[in-house]
Symmetry: C2
């Protein structure tokens, strides 16, 4: 609560208190903020962490990675990798350690307008979307349909307006654009014209990076402006686990590095299929693969901003189908966060996805489980944090909006318990019990803390059964749909300047209507 409302709430009686309650807090006094520090959860002990580290080094030294492109072989052997007769590149320990010494630890992911930059240091936690869903979830029709560029743009616009969604990595594929080059370019356009927040995207082929950079230079107002504050990063699946480079993605990565685009080194093994079935083993392999990626990036350009993207996924071993909503998944991402901190590197992993087909109770518990554990573990970038259903196959706008409440609650838990003379409240207890009214509801301390300490859900319902009935028993999904419609009713705050937009439409085949 700022000084002004603090004074008025103390002196002005009930009306002033009500006014104080209605006043929005300045950013630095809000109960939750992007980039709060986690780290109270330690699923791995220090000894466990070191064992995982040493096993990953062993894997790199003894097993190495296959399938690097010729350019990658050149970069990596020049750096110190050893190319075996079996075509695998092996990484001596000293090379990995040297890379860890020069890797960029000071990564900030930029927003387009400079207002929501993400500082990925320490245990700072940020939540955002991600994934490559191919379906949109229609909650009222209980149906799955192909996702479109308009769906993506709408998701961007919604994210732009949600406090607790801190970045927009492209959550779904524009299936109405059949040409891959056009799809990649329209993906960037749909995201940039919908949100100022940092954007993550992907490229189907190396040759699509150049035109994308051209588009980004135009949006930024010149290549120099783009390189100064790159507001789009490349989500790069540089490996095909287990322990093989994804040849073409590595070439994409090289182009992105040359173009000044931060890269997310994304290793997405599936525990039990393309990674060991044990949580520890899947983390070992993901760490080994990302260390290889980090050597690669730093061999191309020392210090290039890269996010350590250990994204091991869970599997339902009964069926072999992917499962993202499990407790095992939460442990995978939680353990990865500790590995990132061990290296002191900016890191990301997947959490918040659900296997449920609709935003129902299962979706709620699954999304909270991994989002909460990831945040408590201090994961810098929590990808897939909202809107993701059907084990990443479906994206849902209503779920994204409800995810804002869910993540806000998780962030309150990440913030933790403040223990100070004031919060311990002995004086207040004495006052209330010995000379006061016997309750705390009207005390100055309670009113002061009402906004600064407590997170209130936007759509989450706290009415009594009686009030709820009087309100006509509103349904959670109906409320989310109403909020979605309200959010999309006005033009995008982040829309591009009309002259720029016209220039982009002249240069590129933009599918979204002007």
């Amino acid at each position: 609560m700022n000084d002004q409302t603090r004074t008025s709430s103390r002196s002005g009686g009930r009306a002033a208190r009500r006014a104080a309650r209605a006043t929005a807090l300045p950013d630095h006094l809000r109960p939750i903020r992007p980039g709060m520090e986690g780290g109270t959860l330690k699923a791995l002990s220090q000894q466990d962490i070191e064992k995982i580290h040493h096993t990953a080094l062993d894997a790199l030294e003894q097993i190495g990675l296959a399938d690097a492109p010729p350019s990658g072989v050149e970069y990596l052997t020049r750096a110190g990798c050893i190319l075996g007769d079996d075509g695998r590149l092996r990484f001596p320990r000293a090379l990995v350690e040297d890379t860890l010494a020069i890797a960029n630890r000071d990564v900030t992911l930029c927003s387009r307008n400079g207002k929501t930059d993400l500082d990925l240091s320490g245990t700072r936690v940020h939540y955002g979307t991600a994934g490559a869903a191919v379906h949109m979830v229609d909650v009222h029709g209980r149906d799955y349909r192909d996702s479109t560029v308009q769906d993506l743009h709408d998701a961007a616009r919604i994210c732009d307006q949600l406090d607790n969604i801190h970045f927009l990595q492209r959550p779904m594929v524009c299936r109405d654009i059949l040409d891959n080059r056009e799809m990649d370019l329209n993906t960037i356009y749909a995201c940039c014209s919908g949100t100022f927040k940092h954007i993550g995207t992907s490229f189907t082929e190396p040759d699509f990076v150049a035109p994308a950079l051209e588009m980004l230079h135009m949006i930024a107002g010149g290549e120099d402006k783009w390189r100064e504050r790159p507001f789009v990063s490349n989500s790069n699946c540089f490996v095909v686990p287990p322990m093989k480079f994804a040849t073409e993605s590595c070439e994409v990565m090289e182009r992105c590095i040359e173009g000044g685009m931060p890269v997310l080194l994304l290793s997405a093994g599936m525990a039990g299929a393309t990674a060991p079935s044990t949580v520890a083993g899947a983390i070992v392999q993901a760490v080994a693969e990302c260390l290889a990626g980090l050597v690669y990036v730093n061999a191309v350009k020392p210090g290039h901003p890269a996010i350590f993207g250990t994204w091991p996924f869970g599997l339902d071993l009964r069926t072999g189908a992917m499962s993202i909503g499990s407790g095992e998944q939460a442990l995978l991402s939680s353990g990865c966060a500790q590995m990132h901190q061990f290296y002191g590197l900016p890191g990301g992993a997947a959490a918040g996805g659900s296997d449920a087909k609709l935003p129902n109770m299962q979706a709620g518990w699954e999304q909270m489980c991994s989002n909460l554990m990831a945040g408590l573990s201090g994961l810098n970038m929590v990808y897939e944090a909202a809107g993701m259903h059907a084990s990443l196959l479906g994206f849902c706008h209503e779920s994204l909006i409800l995810g804002d409440d869910l993540i806000g609650q998780a962030m309150r838990c990440v913030r933790g318990i403040e223990v100070t003379e004031e919060t311990l409240a002995l004086d207040q207890i004495a006052d209330v019990c010995l000379s006061g009214t016997g309750h705390y509801l009207g005390t100055g301390q309670t009113l002061d803390r009402m906004q600064a300490d407590y997170v209130y859900p936007t759509l989450g319902d706290r009415t009594s059964p009686k009030e709820w009935a009087e309100l006509g028993k509103p349904g959670l999904l109906d409320k989310a749909t109403a909020r979605k419609e309200a959010m999309l009713a006005h033009p995008s705050q982040a829309r591009l300047d009309p002259m720029l937009d016209m220039a982009l439409r002249e240069r590129f085949n933009i599918h979204l209507p002007a």
Copy 2:
């Protein structure tokens, strides 16, 4: 996986593997079990914990508690409390410390058949119901109605069949029984005839304890048998926060102690109303009150089994209404668990309740948030863990059943990450990458771990959108209702011996039909 299935899965090919998958694991090899050890989450630092402890001692010494009954004043002053002119009993530090030295740390809560006893030592975690809801939630009619003794009995029968519900504290009030004495006695009957698991109950008046003990002696087969293995504990709201004894409940407590019934020392302050609004302050007050209760119990009977029941609740400070589903609530219960461990005392707190009126997405995220944090913090007794809606006003059988899946997942997270030579899986990675098939799905290690490491939901849906559509898009609540009906279709496994039942019905006015 037991030895037999382990062997067959290695040697017998696909059919044998399928058979192995279908075989239920023996208890000690199951991925999750009651009483797993938590403690990976530490919301409070050691210094924070000590500050809370010292502030609670200050509160007891300087403020003390009012309103003890005459018997309590006598017990407590004899133990060393100082009765002030203001009628408050103050607790010298040395008295509290002496009590901590003699308090019972070796508490086991008994089941009626000896098969599901709860060992409350260390950070062992158990989940169960609790509360005093006055409504039943009708999920399909979206309605709240008065709860009845039949609803309570059905809840007991459902809990008896759910693996991840470890005890049954009476979750709702039998509102169809208007006489309080009959209500209390029928509550015990409805619970005992529905489940073998440990039961928690409450008493409206001290005089109702004697007939209840008479009933329990009959069920146990004699007073000696009862005293040897008391399978019902008394959930005792011995304080009216802030810092006042609940006079009549203290008298109930004395009778329960005399009757050999374990007591839960339940301090249920509401942060911002009857406790400080800060998380730390609410914990301080709850700890102070429970320490007072512990002195009381040990003054009546040294070493009597008591659970340290710091149950601070959250509040929506905008409206003054209770809110149990918040992040603040999860932090309150999580911090309390650490205080219990600091004292080395068996402890309990509330988690898993929801403010949502129905088992929807909000209910899922709220229930997971606090259940997960409580478990990760190593809370011995997680009360209110399933079925609880509308900020504790409503209980829901479908939600209870879905809660079994939700808690199973939380327990998987509590179990954590196993880091051993085997789970680190270097050999396996080498095998698969260098000489194997390139994937892990068919490896012996993966099959071995399939059941012992992974928790599979019973009702949680992991089908693909296509499979889901082919199945007719089953709804989660419909599946829960079907499971409920199946569970209640056959007679209770825990039903009382017919001769005993007849004797109970002759002695007491039992409302449930025979």
